[in-house]
């Protein structure tokens, strides 16, 4: 199969609302048959906290702390938990439902898509495994979280691969049940989560990670990569969605 490769991050990092909007615009393109299946790679600037579709942004995120440190906050189209996007590479893929990588069985599709990410990590020298429902781990520690939604006859899955880990910073932006718990939560994350820097003992630049992930997905998914940037129509749609949906109070504070 042909797999459209869109390396958004090669040109720089984007704000969270626009990142989420580009994913949704691509969902529309694939859904209308205007684009082949897509693998997109990207990064975030400013850093951003996203919350899952079913979470309350207000309940999970310390919005004052975010404002004070210039961090965005956005609700995702996908379920799952709160994520602090900084020091990571993010991917998204859009596949028509029924595609070999997008069977009706949701857990199986997580496994199939994550196999590409695991392949990419292998190329970087990291031996990772899929951990159901939606994690990728190395030696029992999570290095990647993934989230999927199915809309408009397509599967959209996005996920993060941690290049670096900063739990203290993360918990300074999330609401925790009690301030005295913060230290314990930071320790828990350090025990359960890892990063490419920790695993490889060096900083992995975005471009190196992007190349490995693209190759890993191409190989695991049996796909031929075809670099194809955003069309002007997709870009316009993404800008509209970023403004009207992912930057709006109506969407972000809906639950």
């Amino acid at each position: 199969m042909k797999l459209r490769l869109l390396d958004s991050g090669a040109r720089g990092a984007l704000p969270g609302a626009l990142n989420m909007a580009i994913d949704e615009a691509l969902l529309g393109s694939v859904s209308r048959g205007e684009s082949p299946p897509v693998l997109r790679l990207y990064r975030w600037s400013p850093p951003c906290v996203t919350v899952g579709y079913f979470q309350s942004l207000e309940a999970e995120v310390d919005l004052d702390a975010c404002r004070a440190s210039g961090v965005d906050a956005v609700r995702r189209l996908t379920g799952g938990g709160a994520v602090f996007h900084d020091g990571e590479i993010t991917y998204s893929t859009v596949l028509p439902l029924g595609h070999a990588l997008a069977p009706d069985d949701i857990l199986e599709s997580y496994r199939l898509v994550c196999a590409g990410i695991i392949g990419g990590l292998g190329l970087l020298g990291v031996d990772a495994v899929f951990e159901p429902i939606n994690d990728i781990a190395v030696g029992g520690k999570k290095v990647s979280g993934n989230a999927q939604t199915r809309r408009q006859g397509c599967l959209l899955q996005h996920g993060t691969i941690l290049l670096d880990l900063s739990p203290e910073r993360m918990f300074s932006l999330l609401k925790v049940p009690a301030e005295k718990l913060k230290g314990r939560l930071v320790e828990e994350v350090k025990a359960r989560v890892t990063s490419l820097r920790a695993l490889l003992g060096r900083a992995v630049p975005y471009a190196e990670a992007a190349e490995a992930l693209a190759k890993g997905c191409s190989s695991a998914w049996g796909a031929e990569l075809e670099p194809l940037p955003l069309s002007s129509a997709e870009e316009a749609e993404a800008r509209r969605l970023a403004a009207e949906r992912f930057s709006s109070r109506k969407w972000n504070f809906r639950r």
Binding site: G52, Y53, F54, A59, I133, N134, T149, R151
Partner: protein, 95 residues
């Protein structure tokens, strides 16, 4: 009266439920959390199904509404959600 309850699900997910009650009837039920539900709109339709039901039927209604196809849940079961909502609703009857 709005009652909230946080309910940790075995496996680690956190359900944060809210039940608004007036004269023994549910006005609104909201199930927030870090779980997955497909399709998302079917989950919201299930939440809307609580409007007007008597408080004492919250748990069994939840079991039925959140088990209904095409809804598929990951990270929390209909029984988890029913328990969380049932406990929240129960508190409203406490003195």
């Amino acid at each position: 009266m709005i009652r909230r309850r946080d309910h940790k699900v075995p496996g680690g997910k956190l359900l944060r439920v809210e039940v608004e009650i007036e004269s023994g009837l549910v006005r609104r039920a909201l199930v927030r959390g870090d779980f997955f539900a497909h399709p998302e709109e079917a989950f919201e339709a299930a939440e809307a199904g609580f409007v007007g039901i008597p408080v004492e039927l919250v748990e069994e209604t939840a079991l039925s509404l959140f088990s209904k196809p095409p809804l598929r849940l990951f990270g929390a079961t209909p029984a988890d959600i029913a328990q969380a909502l049932g406990e929240a609703a129960d508190e409203t009857q406490a003195p």
